[in-house]
Amino acid sequence: MNKDISSELVDQVSAAKSTLQPLNIVGGGSKEFLGRVSEGQPLHMREHCGIVDYSPSELVMTARAGTPLVDLIDLLDQHHQMLAFEPPLYNGQATLGGTLATNSSGPSRPWRGAVRDSVLGIRLINGEGQHLRFGGVVMKNVAGYDLSRFQAGAMGSLGVITEVSFKVLPKPATEKTLTFELSQADAIQKLTQWQKQPKPISAAVWVDGVLSIRLSGAQRAVDGTSRQWGGELMDEKEATLFWESIREQTHRFFHDSRPLWRFSVKSSLAATGDDAMVDWGGAIRWVRREASLPNMVQQAIPMEGQVSLYRNGDREAEVFAPLPTPMKQLHQQIKRAMDPYGIFNPGRLYSWL
């Protein structure tokens, strides 16, 4: 499907501006569980879709925000290329715009970057109903403020992303997954040592007493590292399913109705309890626990990290770590600079934004 409904979208934003009607921006609806509950009239993005440009030798693709990621991946596959950030696809429902708005990135993130690291440029409708273009289609661009990468994680609260240009990567020639039966503490120690070495790691997860490490790259590099590090080689098909279950959060660890907390920490941080899951080579610790945000924030302080309520729990209360007063003021001023009438996804990120 290939359709440009940007002029309709601009009209809808302009109408919302004149009536001060809050809008709830919806792509494939796959990430409704993220952030706070947002009231507002749905602004449907799904129809605004299609790949606008793709030049494999430039490593750059441009697509409309409503394009499902699976469509991008289908085309990239034909050229042995991939999305660097390995995003969750949520049964094919996840769209490019929503993926950027939530900065939704998979297991490869520490080594290949997040969505925000791949983004080169965007088009966006601001709160004045102006359809603007920031960044571009080239790897290096320092003209003007970077309002493209800035959309990552803003949960649509700064404008309607209509188009995204991003860098893609060649697929690695080969992949292997090694597993090691280890306690969490030993796994983190090993990860810390191994990540100091220039080896082709592309994912590292510890769950249920097993550390799984994925190696990606040139055949001989992967083989050499795998011989050096040992461990048990996971069957190829099993490995694909395993990493998919981490990326899509369908692994049995996530089959749980308790609040799911996401601690973003430095990768070498000590073990956080055997009921946690360690992802991103140590930089993410998933914890399932009945607790309040203030309570978990207290726990995150000695960890020098930040915690958010990722899934389940009370989504009418705050779900992201609180910000100090000057930061809160900056957020409010920036929000006003891009969305002066407060119509885009109000309250989705913070109740006061």
């Binding site: 030049s55 030798s57 970077d146 990540q195 070495q197 082709p200 930089a283």
Partner: protein, 481 residues
Amino acid sequence: MKDASDITLTKPQILVELGRVLPTNCIIEDEETLRPYECDGLSVYCEMPLVVVIPETVQQLQAVVRLCHQHAIPLVARGAGTGLCAGAMPHAQGVVVSLARFNRIIDIDEDARTARVQPGVRNLAISEAVGEFGLYYAPDPSSQIACTIGGNVAENSGGVHCLKYGLTVHNVLAFDMLTAEGDLVTIGHQGLDGAGFDLLALLIGSEGMLGIVTEITVKLLPRPEVAQVVMAAFDDVEKAANAVADIIGAGIIPGGLEMMDSHAIRAAEEYCHAGYPIDAEALLLCEIDGTLEEVQEHILRVENLFRQLGAIAVRTSNNEEERMLLWKGRKSAFPAVGRISPDYYCMDGTIPRSQLSNVLKRMNEMSEQYGLRVANVFHAGDGNLHPLILFDANVPGELEKTEEFGGKILELCVEVGGCITGEHGVGVEKLRQMHAQFNDEELSQFHRIKEAFDPKGILNPGKGIPVLKRCQEYRSIEAAK
């Protein structure tokens, strides 16, 4: 937005106020000592500041920012002054704050692969300090011996390795920053992402117009086991451009991929005898780094590709000495060109790689039209072009002609889908070209962002984003031509 016309304090009054918050040895006010601060690396733009301050502590710096905010005094932060867009050019009624004394590496966390550094630490000094752990800081702008990490944050600096390892924005985890009001805030943290807006993405590359960084946490990478460089010479620029596309298309991401045209090849070879074939029309340097096995595998493929695509010479470094020599030519291309011309003006545009031969051809046409030679060095891997326009500033009118020619090159970059600056920044220099890349609504959006951070407009005023009235003037001048 306010500007210099709102300033109410006189120089003696400002000195009295600064004297209350800073020791005397941190304040420079006499003309002779102020002189070195009149420009950055782009010396065609000069302005004498009222005062230069060199604070020693964050508290002193904070007091200066608060003072400037209170009295609406323009404040220009400065690192090593190696920038190439007049981004650190002083304001005639303002204060320059040099961050030279913030030059400490505060902490190295080997296990987390991070370093906490002050903004005045030199880029290369970070890699030198962490070398013993087998780590390094990846972005390596050509000025890395002298430029500071604070300046790198302001400009989102790149370097020859950024196709593979990214820009400053990809390699900074967190920083502390003073807002225009003088509040000290922490942006980012030890983890890979955080709550709220991604202010790191917005602030890195904002040219000192939104805040002043006081401490930076950078990501460190394990140093690759081995790096080798393949040099390939071509008798035709288009063949070289195709070779770049084919390497990328073959799924190889080189650590660095650089191109030089015939002017640059000859100048560099005469300057440092790297062994470049001087009859070549284009030269590629392709560096492959990684594990020993990966490098061996990819080097073979790259050599074969170059030969298949008609390279007239292919040479691969067999040891560090040979690798350094092959790079030496490229790295000294600017001074080398400096020897064949009284002056040169370095431009910085980015284009899609597929447009390379088209852009070089049109640049040659313009070169004839303006009667000025151009030498080209090109970060071919990421499409960042550095045309060096050769001129003689002693010939009346030649600098103006050079600037006009340079402006046309940047507009050409935008026309083919690129941008006016890949890594040097807009500063004062490229204000005129901003209207080629952005329309009035987009520029207004930038101004509103600026106001959100700096309502009084004290931080590096007059840089980066043109005032809209000027844009309309430029557009009508262009239209009238």
